[in-house]
């Protein structure tokens, strides 16, 4: 990084955090600290919702995902607009009128205290696990760029986030998120434009798009139905809808964003903005990853993107052979790509088909060399499951982007990390204070006391995230890890809210056991079947509803029988 990059990076981050803290003045009651006094306009909520969901993982891992697997990951988001419509029509007015701080507070009003306690505990477990993953991503960034120990990086980023979250509450978070999303869009566009700009002379944008297509990196829609295939249109539309219904409808980190709205209409507009903007935004991120792939067709990529790990494997006797195999495969691929582009421009379909076949053969050789290199790394480090997906985009940014843009893109990644971590830490603190402390520990105390408790809980969850992030760094593709963790719990949470909203005759005990049955079915699906994780939400939700409804009917019948006997 050049001095200009450091100025851009620290200037951007300092300005964002200072502005957020400035806008959070007056957060001196629990209502203002946790819900911003319900004064937020729709555009601030919209960007805050987007910022909370788009973590550093989104930029580091999603671009890497496009590099290795193409754009098919975008199908994961097809269910999001549908979920936003359903939540706007159902959950938003219910939560607003219930006048609650948390979604789980509503469950006690609708069912009973044990159902509220169970679902609050599920939320604390799953969100507590994913906040560590979200914090691990920027640690990867800084360890690659600065060579800092990842643990130290985690602590530094964690401390910055905890400071402004503890001091300013949700208002600081929301206004910081607004600025952060502006920087994110700017940085993303800069990265995409630069990736295309850096292509060799003679390779046009259309050549690049065509090459990405022939390389299978523009596979945005797959109509084939397969329960074991992670990303196709059906898993996206059905599984994705259930996942996003769970996330935006039952996860406090999102519910709390739209509970800050001035009115039902403002909250709905905030959600529907996301319905419209999210899929194009993911396309932009994935397309950037695809263009980085094309860039590395012409510029020789490292054998393994995680350089620190590669150093360990260099002393292996088999390394020179793998390196030479990789080099010759890279040259064959580049030649085939050049011939493909010439054939495309000349309109020669026979030569185009022949060069495409040569390209695929060379790509296969290149992939084989990378697999061999991964084996060497695993052998040298004594680990298994080596995965360098998270390092691809970072390698491109730090080695090839011009001065100033590097600082901006790193600011994007850190901004995204801080916005999602702050939102998650804030929601964990809110549930800990409102659903646990105020409900079960100290039922009657002053507003000042609960404000103090909220700040302490925020600091606690920030520290917890730092500790868990240390473990999360070794989980492979972080974007998938965070979604899989969420899917283990969301189905049960969604099911209980479906019971609450749509089945008025179901009562607390039936809902409670329904949630437990739903969670059991999800864990069975995860550990005992090959079903893709996007379907866990569907399985869990359906089981909760069926068990809850049947149990409720059985309890009613038994009560009627007892009443008739007496």
């Amino acid at each position: 990084m050049t001095p200009l990059d450091w100025i851009v990076l620290f200037g951007t981050l300092a300005a964002i955090v200072s502005y957020g803290l400035y806008r959070s003045r007056g957060s001196n009651t629990v209502d203002r600290y946790l819900l911003a006094g319900k004064t937020m306009p729709w555009y601030a909520m919209a960007l805050s919702i987007m910022a909370t969901q788009a973590s550093a993982i989104t930029f580091i891992s999603t671009t890497g995902q496009a590099y290795v697997d193409g754009m098919r990951f975008v199908q994961f988001y097809f269910g999001l607009p549908l979920a936003m419509i359903i939540i706007s029509a159902t959950a938003v007015p219910i939560f607003h009128r219930a006048n609650v701080y948390t979604a789980y507070e509503y469950l006690e009003k609708r069912f009973d205290s044990k159902t509220r306690a169970l679902v609050s505990a599920i939320f604390l477990i799953q969100r507590g696990l994913s906040v560590g993953v979200a914090l691990a991503a920027p640690a990867i960034v800084m360890s690659v760029i600065l060579g800092w120990p990842a643990r130290l990086t985690t602590i530094v980023v964690g401390c910055v986030v905890v400071t402004y979250t503890v001091l300013g509450g949700i208002k600081a978070i929301t206004w910081t998120d607004v600025q952060q999303m502006g920087i994110v869009f700017l940085g993303l566009l800069a990265a995409l434009v630069t990736a295309v700009w850096l292509l060799p002379r003679g390779v046009s944008f259309f050549d690049a798009v065509s090459l990405a297509g022939v390389a299978g990196r523009l596979n945005a829609v797959d109509l084939h139905f397969d329960l074991k295939n992670r990303y196709n249109i059906w898993s996206g539309l059905i599984g994705g809808t259930f996942l996003f219904l769970s996330y935006f409808g039952t996860d406090q980190s999102q519910v709390q964003r739209y509970l800050t709205g001035k009115s039902i209409a403002q909250s709905r507009l905030g959600l529907l903005f996301n319905a419209v903007a999210k899929v194009p935004m993911q396309c932009l991120i994935l397309f950037t990853g695809a263009m980085v792939f094309v860039f590395f067709i012409y510029e020789r990529p490292p054998l393994v993107f995680q350089q620190i790990e590669l150093q360990k494997a260099r002393s292996d006797a088999g390394y020179p052979q793998v390196e030479s195999h990789f080099q010759s495969a890279f040259e064959h691929r580049r030649e085939a790509a050049t011939r493909f582009s010439e054939a495309r421009r000349a309109g020669d379909s026979a030569l185009r088909a022949q060069s495409a076949a040569e390209y695929h053969a060379a790509q296969k050789e290149l992939d084989a060399a990378r697999t061999d290199a991964a084996r060497l790394v695993e052998k040298a480090s004594g680990t298994s499951g080596f995965n360098d997906t998270n390092y691809i985009f970072l390698t491109f940014v730090t080695r090839y982007l011009p001065a100033g843009i590097v600082g901006l893109v790193i600011a994007v990644i850190l901004s995204a990390a801080m916005s999602s971590i702050s939102g998650e830490v804030n929601s964990l603190a809110t549930v800990s204070v409102i659903d646990v402390y105020r409900r079960h520990v100290r039922r009657q105390a002053t507003d000042r006391h609960y404000l103090w408790a909220s700040r302490v809980a925020t600091a606690f969850w920030g520290c917890y995230a730092v500790v868990f992030a240390d473990y999360a760094r070794n989980l492979g593709s972080l974007i998938e890890a965070v979604n899989i963790v969420g899917s283990l719990f969301y189905g049960g949470m969604l099911g209980v809210f479906v019971l609450a909203f749509l089945f008025p005759r179901v009562r607390g005990t039936a809902a409670f056991w329904g949630v437990l049955a739903g969670e059991a079915s999800i864990f069975y699906a995860h550990f005992r079947t090959d079903i893709s994780f996007l379907w866990y939400n569907v399985v869990g939700c359906v089981v909760v509803v069926i068990v809850g409804w049947l149990l409720s009917a059985a309890i009613r019948t038994r009560a009627q029988g007892l009443a008739a006997e007496s």
Partner: protein, 49 residues
């Protein structure tokens, strides 16, 4: 501060600032999604290997 916040409010369900009703806004978002998926499908088919 007590365990519960003030009694449930009757928050007004204001109309959207455009299209006249929320039902029409939801319909517009739905058809927008259909159009985006269709465009991405055409993109995939046109550029597949």
């Amino acid at each position: 501060m007590t365990e519960s916040r003030p009694p449930a409010s009757e928050a007004p369900d204001d109309p959207p600032p455009f299209l006249g009703s929320w039902r029409r806004v939801y319909t517009a978002v739905f058809f927008y999604l259909v159009a985006v998926i269709a465009a991405l499908y055409v993109f995939t088919r046109a550029l597949r290997p």
